[in-house]
Amino acid sequence: MSDVQKKKFVVTRFDPDKDEVPKTQEYTIPVRPDWKVLDALNYIKDEVDGTISHRWSCRMAVCGSCGMLVNGEPKLTCSTPLDEYGDEVHVAPLSNFPVIRDLVVDLEGFLDKFKSVKPWIVRAKEKAVEEGPCRQTPEELHAFKQFSMCINCMLCYAACPVVANVPEFLGPAAIALGHRYNLDSRDEGAAERNEVFRGEGTVYECSYANECSEVCPKNVDPAAAINQAKLLAVLDWMKSFVTPRRGGE
């Protein structure tokens, strides 16, 4: 067993009842070559220190729960191989979020932003079941499909320099999701969403650092969505001068 590889994990700890500021704690544990970062955290939790708190669920990069900063970079820990790192690995909670405990961040503000862009199909009048399904061509599906792959892991919020400086900014994932519904041929809620896009936390805050698309584990390209959304929101704003306002009759 002498050839078992060991790695040191420097984990950020924070207990709101005891700590003023976060501190770090070191754990040196045996690791297996095929482990992901999450496997090491689970080993620490199960075998070394049961007081450590972290979120995870599916272990297959679908649920988006296990996002953390690994050596300072936002990563889904369940899909980040440990062998990409040296003998020392730093794990911290996602930046730009309030920390509840250790590696667990508060999602409240993020979820409020999500809800504000109405991430569902908005219809002026609900289509009756008897009228059959809303059909879409492959092209119409292709228009938004990429932006629907988001798993709400919030890595893009941790990476975004604008989220860090402008707390009310809607942020990459929320804008990409709103834009996804604006592009959906079945949806009729673009005018409402564009008003949100132009309001508090406006899409124009984005300075196109492109960090969101760099860190996205699902290749959603939120930066592209934001910049397409900007143009559509401008066109919608121009249109509002020549056509009567929605609900104005």
């Binding site: 320099p161 400086n165 402008v166 132009r198 124009y204 300075s207 900007k230 143009l231 401008v234 704003w237």
Partner: protein, 123 residues
């Protein structure tokens, strides 16, 4: 100032977006031609002489188009610069002063644009 900027954001962004297009695509070519091509003798100096360009801008039919292009080259990069500097200010912890900084920068861009309009009209 901030609420006003928020309302004007679509216009500002449109001018900024157009400025980016010009600034990153056309302006380097323009600088390459005027700043390097002519001084290094790669392009004949008389091709871009004042008289020739003035003639282009005064052409009865094409003159208006050339004047609009000249105005775009003068004004839009100002909006690009103003918006970039505002973003830079925010990045340097300037969220609280954003309204003031943005207001001043856009006023400078606006003044430059007005001067640009006067310049191309009076040519």
């Amino acid at each position: 100032m901030k609420p006003l900027l928020l309302r004007l954001e679509p216009v500002i962004w449109l001018l900024f977006g157009a400025g980016i297009m010009l600034g990153t695509i056309l302006l380097p070519g323009y600088l390459l031609t005027m700043g390097l091509g002519v001084p290094l003798g790669v392009l004949p100096a008389e091709a871009l002489s004042y008289e020739r360009l003035h003639g282009m801008l005064s052409h009865p039919i094409g003159g208006l188009v050339f004047r609009l292009v000249a105005l775009a080259l003068i004004a839009l990069p100002l909006w690009k610069a103003a918006h970039h500097l505002r973003s830079l200010s925010v990045d340097f912890d300037g969220h609280d002063r954003d309204g003031l900084v943005g207001g001043v920068l856009y006023l400078i861009a606006l003044a430059g644009s007005v001067l640009g309009i006067l310049a191309v009209i009076r040519l």
